[in-house]
Amino acid sequence: MPETMLLVPGRSSKQGTSLNKGKFEDEYQEITSLVEMNEEDMVRLGFNNGDKLRLKNPVGETIVTCKSKKATDLPHGMIFIAYGPGSSRLMESDTAGSGMPLSKHLPVQVEKIG
């Protein structure tokens, strides 16, 4: 059964530096498809660093690579990804009359693939 977790896209230093090298470069693609997860959640779910995960919600899905984060740095049930094409695929286009699509705190289903 896929686990429902809260996806928080945001900026990171590596995302910023790789952006300057180019969005079509491997480095940017890798950084924007790397998801950080609470290490205790990873143990509970049987995930390892480097595992490929599918993040899915009613809007779309994206494939990411899993990386552990200290339990003190990332709450249980929350995952972090650097802004990029991957996080955009999970953003809904409805802006509730504000112009801003909800781009953080996105509930997504997480499952290991391959």
Binding site: S13, R89, S93, A96
Partner: protein
């Protein structure tokens, strides 16, 4: 030979993020057309300069993926925009104010909508400012006076690395001579970001509960009672909230800096509005200010230019011949996702990469005119694509720092590509000529103004 023809550019300005640091010392290899050193730059600024190079072989203009002359491309771009029933102009946060001004003029002439990346950044804060007002300042004031700094829903250590050192945490000022020792710094966020080690206190709020925590703070500032279940609701204890209120009321000069943790989450402008209102409330007790930490180099300039040209900061429509503002209707994600627009002029932005899929799908199906310094997902799908010079490196001009302070750019070296301002000025001239052909008197004036001009003659 490389290394002999070197130029030093002092007091150059980095335009990567909204800090717009204007103390760069650039070493430029004029033969290689590369910046080999950027003294004072942060990790993001170093990458901004180090990765900048001129793709000499790239065409300055393309039509349907094939190289074209700039004149041909300008003509095709103008026709595309004039032929459209409802064109949108979007982007603008990574170009100069001078270019932004031309883009507004184009949108006015073609009676389309114009919107900036603000709508998917701090647009909700812009809405909140209109509703609540703004207790504002310059970053210089913060550096010199602030003894309490609160970062809320932002991670400047990674997004604006010099914000701490230049302005708000370790910066030494007139009344803060010992820098960090003269300040208390608090970070409020849903996760322990790399900004937290710079703070004296980290307050971890439950995801989606920023508004509730801000409202609880407002209540306690006004000496009202709050729910005993506040910790269950927000994840923050009553004692912690009360202690923060005491700090805020008793500081000499407090500053709230807020990020997209407020604007991009449920509540959006209500979250920003609650924080701004908290700052306003605190002015009953001390001096308190609030400021969004803005992203792209000149996104604040885009807000300013839009505001002084149209009266509104983003999401503006000219279809009735005068500017109207309505987020949710005239903002770009909405216009694309609802398939309202039939052509797009995209300037210094890459919505084909970072918009929701429904918006990208429509963008891919309409004629797009793009201006960017390098190939992007948007330029690849564009009907007409211009490659332009990079602002702050290859062009001078004006940008606004995140605190609305205008800063003049210095050019480091020439680019073979035209500036955004030059291309947009050329497009403006052609759309005006196509939209308003010469009248019988030979005057290039809009039909509605012809009689007025005739009146002036008498």
């Amino acid at each position: 030979m490389s290394g002999e023809n070197v130029k030093i550019v002092e007091n150059a300005t980095c335009t990567f993020c909204g800090c717009v640091c204007d103390d760069m010392v650039l070493t430029v290899d004029l033969d290689q057309k590369r910046i080999t050193k950027a003294k004072n730059a942060c990790i993001l600024g170093r990458a901004w300069y180090a990765e900048h190079y001129i793709e000499e072989d790239a065409p300055a203009a393309m039509i349907d993926g094939k190289p074209a002359s700039i004149d041909e491309a300008v003509e095709e771009a103008a026709k595309t925009l004039v032929d459209a029933k409802f064109p949108i102009t979007y982007g603008l946060s990574d170009t100069t104010c001078e270019a932004q001004k031309q883009a507004v003029a184009i949108a006015d002439i073609i009676k389309g909508s114009i919107d900036t990346t603000t709508s998917v950044c701090h647009g909700p804060s812009g809405i909140a400012f209109q509703g609540v007002g703004e207790s504002t300042m310059t970053l210089g004031e913060v550096k010199n006076r602030a003894d309490l700094v609160i970062y809320w829903g932002g991670n400047p250590a990674e997004s604006h690395p010099r914000h701490f050192g230049r302005y708000a945490v370790t910066a030494k000022g007139m009344f803060t001579p010992r820098g960090k020792k003269d300040r208390t710094v608090v970070v409020v966020d849903v996760r322990k970001t790399p900004s937290v080690p710079a703070a004296n206190q980290f307050i971890q709020v439950k995801p989606g509960k920023d508004f509730e925590l801000l409202w609880a703070l407002r209540a306690l500032v006004k000496n009202r009672k709050i729910s005993p279940n506040i910790e269950e609701i927000t994840g923050v204890s009553l004692e912690t909230i009360q202690a923060l209120v005491d700090k805020m009321k008793n500081c000499r000069y407090g500053a709230l800096f807020f990020g997209m943790g407020l604007t991009m989450t449920r509540g959006r402008h209500f979250n920003s509005g609650a924080l701004i209102a908290l700052a306003t409330d605190l002015n009953e007790y001390t001096h308190f200010v609030a400021k969004p930490v803005r992203g792209h180099g000149n996104v604040t300039g885009a807000d300013n230019v839009m505001s002084w040209q149209t009266g509104y900061p983003f999401g503006v429509n000219f279809s009735r011949g005068f500017p109207r503002f309505n987020p949710g209707e005239f903002t770009t994600v909405d216009l694309l996702a609802k398939k309202d627009v039939d052509a797009a002029l995209i300037i210094a932005s890459d919505p084909a990469s970072n918009f929701p899929q429904a918006a990208i799908d429509h963008l891919a199906g309409i004629p797009v005119v793009s201006l960017d310094t390098k190939a992007t997902m948007t330029s690849k799908l564009a009907h007409v694509a211009f490659r332009t010079a990079t602002y702050g490196i290859n062009t001078a001009g004006t940008v606004y720092r995140m605190d609305d302070v205008p800063i003049t750019l210095r050019k480091a070296f020439d680019s073979p590509f035209p500036t955004d301002e030059e291309i947009l000025t050329a497009i403006k001239k052609r759309v005006r000529a196509l939209k308003f052909p010469k009248n019988q008197a030979g005057d290039k004036v809009p039909p509605g103004r012809a009689s007025q001009k005739e009146h002036w003659k008498h």
